[in-house]
Symmetry: C2
Subunit: 372 residues, 2 copies
């Protein structure tokens, strides 16, 4: 298994431990969760459920925090299509961290990345998606006073120079080994990781002091930060601390991905209630039995049931309620149709609120875009 | 022989024809010189003397000009040290072209380039040199209304996005073959050529129409423009036309280079009259004989005499006067000391005027820096 941001791999639940070991990540153990809880009072369900499951240097980050050396948050989105439920996981966690630790958040929109990696994508398209995707981020309710959007092409005067500082310490051999590039890779894609590294130390540059950086991210993004962590101490900055989340399974089953190009694989933030109903009813892979009779008798399998998994990853934040569903479904007292109805109700209620906030975001978006 | 911007080679006069053939350049023949003269009335001495000696697509450029499709000029300087006499050759020619063709000039200062290619150079240093080098360009007397400085890190919001458009069409294989990169080359140096390509089409983007681009350049810069010429038609722009000059020999002899790091190899624009005298007297390689008696009898060799070559390349624009010196020196009636005195007088008179203009440049520099 070889997971990079640019090579899609099917990931099963059991793969995460293997990946963590292979990447050299630390797992989130009870001690470190306790250490987080000391400051946050409660643990976010994504921590309780080990959706965020691994980290790099989180202990160091919390030690620094306890010494009064506050961190800032950094995450991002490469605009290339609609936002789906899976994209929201690290962002919602980011928002919780922002609130609990009163942290500044730097949010990068590398609008050149997917243009460089996808032959058919134009800069006009990524520009359109940058706007659309920013609305989704704003809609989640981040604090506009503490949230700073960086759009790579627009903020290049701020980013490119510092990307060169990183790039000077990264060889072609390194990016080839890290991302699987070949001699036919284009020179923009080869350079790109340097642009992604910049927000790890840009706030330190702007404030003229070394500030710890904390990055919540999907585990597929870890390779970029392996490079950033290697280079940053060489140019005088802390290594960014990372916390890694699992990837929400696509509708077609655990181990599949949600994709912007396949509407039957994902729920997008702009889907209508009818689209949601149809997608869940028709395409959400079910762990139930073929007939109601058999299901009542033998029960379903929540581990492979995408509707259950989505409640677990995102839509049912109440652990007791989730447990109840788990056992009812497993025993067969809850039917697939009932489970799906429950999920549809949850999704549509979330999207109704989100879409309203997304409309309002158009008016306040400008407050989020970083002004030099 | 393998000349790139990043591998210094000793170049003899006889090598230029070989290089032109190897690179696939056209030589400036009498027909094309005539075609230039039709518009300029006279030929610059750098054209008469074949200091500018080769080109790509210059006929096409002039045809377009005759059809009313005016070109803009593009040249540049990677700041990394003092400006020496050799640097001024293409710029002085550029100024003449600007005047004769009433052309806009885009002047790029890629302040990241040498930082990326030289281990010991910092961005603070390149920033300092950017300012110093800009003063030298302004001092040459370009028209501030028609001359636009682009500083790569400062204008990155304008440049990086368009560099990505180029980069998408350039593979690692291509830059490896063109510049001699290896797997150990850093990813900033690999990407850099895309930034150098941008001014070839930036004016077309800003004015929303395809405008021919004309680049006077030292022949060592040709590799960058081979890539630009390959890519530009793929993204909807004309190939830039080029005109190539030979490299002024260093003080230590024909075939050596002037260097910013070896003060005995070059005259810098900031040298004092005493420094000029000492450098020329002590270090300018002489084609004269060991004794005055022998020189009077056998004569000197202007072909290998750096003082004569500098008059040829730069300081004696009067062809008849130059010819007189050539034959007096060759016959032995002119002594090395006399030739050197003549050159010193020429250099110091040029530098006196240049240094005065360079001081004044501090006040008007801002007019030259492109405002978006």
């Amino acid at each position: 298994m070889d997971l990079t941001p640019y090579r899609a791999e099917k990931i099963k639940e059991s793969d995460y431990g293997i990946l963590a070991k292979k990447f050299g990540l630390s797992l989130l153990n009870p001690e470190i969760l306790e250490k987080i809880k000391k400051h946050t009072k409660e643990l976010h369900f994504m921590l309780r459920r080990k959706i965020f499951f691994a980290h790099r240097d989180l202990e160091w980050l919390l030690d620094e925090y306890e010494k009064g050396n506050k961190f800032f948050l950094y995450t991002g989105r490469a605009p290339s299509g609609k936002i789906h439920i899976g994209h929201l996981v690290p962002w919602i966690f980011c928002k919780w961290l922002q609130e609990k630790f009163d942290a500044e958040l730097w949010f990068q929109f590398p609008d050149e990345e997917k243009f460089l990696f996808r032959k058919e994508l134009s800069l006009n398209e990524t520009e359109k998606w940058t706007y659309e995707n920013m609305l989704d981020v704003v809609a989640l309710g981040f604090n506009p006073k503490k949230t700073h959007f960086l759009i790579n092409t627009k903020h290049a005067s701020l980013l490119y120079k510092h990307a060169c500082m990183v790039a000077k310490h990264v060889t072609f051999s390194t990016v080839r080994a890290t991302f699987g590039f070949t001699n036919d890779s284009n020179i923009g894609s080869i350079f790109y990781t340097a642009m992604q590294a910049v927000p790890c130390f840009l706030p330190s540059i702007l404030q003229k002091k070394n500030i710890p950086c904390f990055v919540p991210l999907g585990i597929d993004q870890d390779p970029h930060f392996r490079i950033a962590r290697d280079v940053l101490p060489k140019i005088g900055f802390y290594k960014p601390a990372l916390i890694h989340c699992k990837l929400v399974p696509g509708l077609k089953g655990v181990g599949t991905k949600m994709s912007a190009s396949d509407p039957t694989s994902a729920i997008y933030t702009t889907d209508t209630p009818e689209e949601v109903r149809e997608k869940i009813m028709k395409h959400a892979f079910s762990g139930g039995k073929e007939t109601i009779e058999k299901h009542r008798k033998l029960g379903g399998n929540p581990e492979i049931d995408v509707s259950y998994q989505w409640l677990y990853y995102f839509f049912e934040t109440d652990d007791r309620k989730l447990e109840e569903i788990y056992f009812s479904y497993k025993k067969g007292t809850m039917l697939t149709k009932e489970l799906k109805e429950y999920l549809i109700e949850k999704i549509n209620s979330f999207l109704k609120k989100h879409q309203r906030a997304r409309e309002k975001a158009k008016k306040i978006l400008d407050k989020f875009i970083f002004k030099e």
